[in-house]
Structures are given as C-alpha cells and as structure tokens.
C-alpha cells in the first residue's frame, strides 16, 4: 500500500516537472501569437488580415481592467506575447520588471504616431511601449432629456437627477471625480480629503442609477439614465446612434488615458509580437480600429488616410469632442496615477459607500 502511494507521488512529480520544463524557445519563426487585450478593443478584421498576410495565428484573450491584466502577469508566466496596458499600469509593470524592452528598429511604423503621443512621461523614449489608442472619461449628457446646459461634475448632485445618473464602476474614476469636485487632486492619498470625498460620494448615491464600466452607453441609449460618466469611445458610439447625446469636458477636469502595446517579460513569441505591433501601427490597418472602436487614434498617418478613404467617418471623428478634443478641452484633463499603499484606503471607501455606510 505504502509503495503504491510513493509510486503515485513520483508519477505526479514526474508529470509536474515535465509540464514545467517544456517551454524551450524555438529558434525558428513563430507561427502563433497570444494577444491579451481589453474586451471590445481590437477589430477581428484586423486580426484576420494579419493572419492572412503573415501566416501567424492570433489567439485573442480579453480583460476588463488594468488590474486584471496585472494580476495575470504577476501570477507568473502567462504565455502572452502582446498586452495593452494603460499609462499608470505601465509605471507599475516597469517597477515590477514585467515588461520586455522593445527593439524599435523592428517597429519602423512608429513614425506614423503623432509626436504628441510619443516619449510620454510613463515611458520616456518608448523603451517598453508604443501607443495603441487614447481617450478620456468625461461627462456625457442626453440633451433630449436634460434641457439646461451641463458644464460641471457638480451638476450631477442636483436633486432633479435622482436615479438618472450612470457612473463607471471604477473606484479610481468615480472617487477621483468626487475629489476633483471638492477641489482636490484626483490622485490624492490624504486620508482627510478622502474621508470628505466619501461623504460627498454618499450624497451622490441617491442620484446614481447604476455603475457600469463595460457598457455604460446601454442604459443611456435606453433612456434609463440622462447623464453621467463614460469612456469617450462609448460616447462616440452612443452619439452616432442618438445625436442628442453629447460629450462634455467638465470644469473640474476629467481623466485622460493612453493605452499602449507592450510585450510582457518572458513572452514565448517575441518575433511575432514585434511583427504584430508594427502591423497595427500601419496606417491602413489602424483605420480599422477607428472604424470599429471610435476612441482617439494617435496614428497621424492613419487619420490622413481616413480623410481620403472615408471622408464621412473622418468628418464625424474630427467634429466630435469625444474623439477629437480641442486643446482647450485637453487642458482640463489629467491622467490617473498609481497611488501605491493608498489603494487599500480607496477600496475601503468604495466598499463602504456601496455597502451603504
């Protein structure tokens, strides 16, 4: 009996070792690419074209928050080749040594990227990342339901909007917005300021119909809510379906973010990853992104090409502030930054407010 048990343990260990030791890098060209990106973010048509042109098969896995991505990478060899982290997450991933340096000589198409979006604070010299899309999360209003002009976040607290507000289900966006309304830094780690923001947010809860990060346009288009906070891409789609839906850069300011293509440490198909990144930055491929997911495109060459290829879409893109904010609008935006240890306090406040304290 005992011998049998020992034998069983040995078999298990042998299998374990065999399973762990198999990851030797092949010297030949990769025929596969494991992509890990936001849901509703990479057009399938672009991936199909990529496979048709290069013979590299793409496996597309999705996540819905930067933290989810971080969790997966932190847990150890994820097997992914290309990821799409946002600005503040890049800072964290760099500190945790989870990103592979990019060989920019293999990404000549980086020249297509508008200089305004190269060499940004979170990645000087684009050592680790290249821009994919960028955007904002600001105020959205259905002007067919709300007759008076809305110019600031503070309007959300108005009693006339009881049960008519949608907010992103994201503590950094929501509590950051409340801090901005109070006149504080939206990345504050000061417990007193956060306590004040918590009380202010509790007051807003009576007006909040729902929190939704995945599909906030849905409640807006259904007439369930009249105004609130949303991603610019969601607002663009909602606007194209209902012209009355407008996107506003509030006086207190709102969030700007940059999503970037990067290669995680230990990626099994680095050659394919570089080929893919360069492919995505190509102008004609980049157009597909704007057609399907109308966030803001940092690819200058792509926008030039769009002007001749699809003038109507180009016009819609350029004239709507959600996709093409003016310099004046952009002055009102600021990025989210990592708040380190204070994350626990933010999460506690979020739990308290939602827990009904």
């Amino acid at each position: 009996m005992k011998t049998f048990r020992i034998a069983a343990v040995f078999v298990v260990f042998a299998m374990l070792i065999a399973a762990c030791g198999g990851g030797q890098k092949p010297a030949v060209k990769s025929t596969e690419l494991n992509l890990y990106a936001w849901s509703e973010y990479i057009p399938q048509a672009m991936l199909d074209n990529f496979t048709a042109e290069t013979g590299i098969k793409v496996n597309y896995d999705t996540y819905s928050s930067n933290e989810e991505l971080q969790a997966k990478l932190q847990a150890g060899a994820s097997g992914y080749d290309v990821i799409v982290p946002s600005d503040y997450m890049i800072t964290i991933l760099k500190k945790q040594n989870l990103l592979e340096k990019l060989d920019l000589s293999q990404i000549p198409n980086i020249k297509n990227i508008d200089e305004r979006f190269r060499n940004l604070e979170y990645d000087p010299g684009n050592e680790y990342t290249v821009p994919y899309q960028w955007g904002t999360s600001c105020l959205v209003v259905d002007t067919s339901k709300v007759s008076r002009p809305i110019t600031k976040w503070a309007d959300l607290w108005d009693p006339e909007f009881a049960g008519k507000v949608v907010l992103l289900d994201d503590v950094r966006e929501v509590l950051g917005m409340v801090l901005a309304v109070l006149g504080y830094d939206k990345n504050s780690t000061d417990p007193a300021q956060l306590e004040e923001a918590k009380a202010k947010l509790s007051e807003l809860m009576a007006n909040v119909k729902l929190f939704d990060s995945d599909n906030p346009k849905q409640a807006l288009l259904a007439g369930e809510v009249w105004l609130g906070q949303t991603w610019n891409g969601e607002a663009s789609i909602a606007h194209s379906e209902n012209e009355a839906i407008q996107y506003i850069f509030p006086e207190e300011g709102c969030t700007i973010w940059f999503d970037n293509l990067a290669i995680p440490k230990g990626a099994p198909h680095i050659d394919a990853a570089l080929t893919f990144i360069n492919y995505v930055l190509d102008a004609k491929n980049s157009i597909l992104i704007t057609k399907e997911f109308p966030y803001s495109n940092p690819n200058k060459a792509a926008l030039e090409l769009l002007k001749t290829e699809d003038p109507a879409l180009y016009e819609a893109y350029m004239s709507f502030p959600a996709t093409n904010p003016s310099d004046e609008d952009l002055k009102r935006t600021a990025p989210i930054k990592d708040i380190g240890e204070a994350t626990a306090l933010w999460d506690r406040i979020w739990t308290e407010v939602k827990g009904g304290e």
Partner: protein, 303 residues
Amino acid sequence: MAAETSSVSPAPRFSLIRQLRESPHAQGLALISPTLIYLLFTLVLPLLLVVVLSFMTRGPYGNIIYRVNLGNYTRLMDTLYLRILGYSLLTAALTTVGTILIGYPLAYYIARTPPRQRSVYLFLILVPFWTNFIIRIYAWIMILRTEGLLNSFLLKIGFIQAPLDILYTPTAVLIGMVYEFLPFMVLPLYTSLEKIEPAQLEAAADLGARPFMAFLRVTLPLSLPGMIAGSILVFIPAMGMFVVPDLMGGAKTILVGNLIRNQFLTARDWPFGAAASMLLLILTLIFTLFYTRRAGFGEELLV
C-alpha cells in the same frame, strides 16, 4: 549470498504489481487515480494556495509580501465586512425561499403529470440553460427596464399609471437570482415528489384526512429531503454570486462575492481576498454540515 540478493531485490517491484492484482483496495485506488490527480491539481493545490495567501500581506504594487500574519482575518471582523456578509446571507436566504415558493408548485405539477409529459417538462426547464448566462441576464434587463416590456405591458392594460422602477434595485437582483437558481431547486424537489406513492395519499384519505391535511402531513414531510438538497444547491452558489448584483443591481450594493472579486481585480489585495474567500468557504461548510447532519445526504443531491 548471490542467490539471496537475487531473490530479494525483485520483490519490491513485484509486490507493487502483486498488490495491484490481489488487493481490491489498491485496484480501487488505481482506478480512481486519474480523478484523484485531477482533484489534487484543480482543487487541493489551489485551495492550499488560497489558505497560505490569506496569511500574507499586500505589497505597495499589489504584489504579495511573504510575511505570515493574521491581519487579514482581524480586518474581516470589522462591522463593514460583517454587514456585507450579513446582507449576502440575507440575499441568499431570500433567493432560496423564492426558489422554493416558485419551484414547489412547479415540481409538484410535473411529478403528477403522465410520465411521458414529465420528461418534456423537465427538458423545458433545462433548455434556457443552454444559452449563455449573461445573455439571459441582458434579456431580463430588457424586460425590467423603465421603458421595457413589463412596464409597457402593465401601462397598456392600465394596471399601473407610472412605470415601475424595478431595474437596478435589490428587487431586480432577487428576480435574477431566483430565475438563475430555479432548476437547482425544481430538480431535487421533483425527484422527491415523484417517489411518493399515490397509495400513501389514498391511505391518508381513507383515514379521514382532507386533501390539504394529507399534503401537510404526508407529501410535505416526504418531499423534505428534496427541499433540503435543493436549498443547499441554491444557497451556496447564491452566497458567492456577483454577476447578477453587478448587472441587474447596477453594481450599487456589495455582496461578499463582489468583495472578493474586487480584492483580486481592482484593489489588488490578494491576501485579503483570499481571507474573505476562506471565510465564505468556512461559512458554507458549516451550513452544509448542519443541514446534512439533520437530514442526511439524500440521492436528491445526485440528480
């Protein structure tokens, strides 16, 4: 000497094979070893990982610092988290009651129909579950929303004057939960009810019991094992549910499932999330033990 070693050394090798050939115990173990190995990798090891993790500390970037302490558990004893737990217990209990109220008449009816129809009805109960859960929840959102099917219907027949505000409230969460877990109650109840011999009810009638009395004194007690099995199957997953409160409750309330999910995916505090999952696990274990001690594991659980 040489003869002795040769007679000894092959023995262990043979003893293994011999054991396998002769001992039914070893045979049984060999036969279930694939399952055991599977459980070891997918249940035991991950669970151990969670246990270990729950005694660690969160690092500044959401990494894990390997310093053993009880901090996560003392933090859980805070009134905030206990209230969330209490609210989750209440929601799960109400879901269970709801599935019994709707499921019992349904199971009763199915058990009383001719056998050929029964399989059709049981099949119909399962059919919706071939569709993706999220899609079915979105269908409920379409029905319940202010300008949705239910409200426009009720307004049209003049039953209400102003649209009901159901979506994104606790009521909507309860509707979604009861809907989702109904089959887990109906199937065990059906198994119990179907086994009741009509002769027993006839005997009750002969002895002077009116149908209602016969139901209370005969049918109900005999269907109790099914109800208990159903309650376990509904209550436990309902405790950990987080999708329905998010989508149909507008993510405005936090259940313990949401709390755990948030720790892993937004607060990046794995150790605290692990501690919260341990608490949930222990609570459900106590609940299951309590129920099975009182009622025993019937075959109803095996449907």
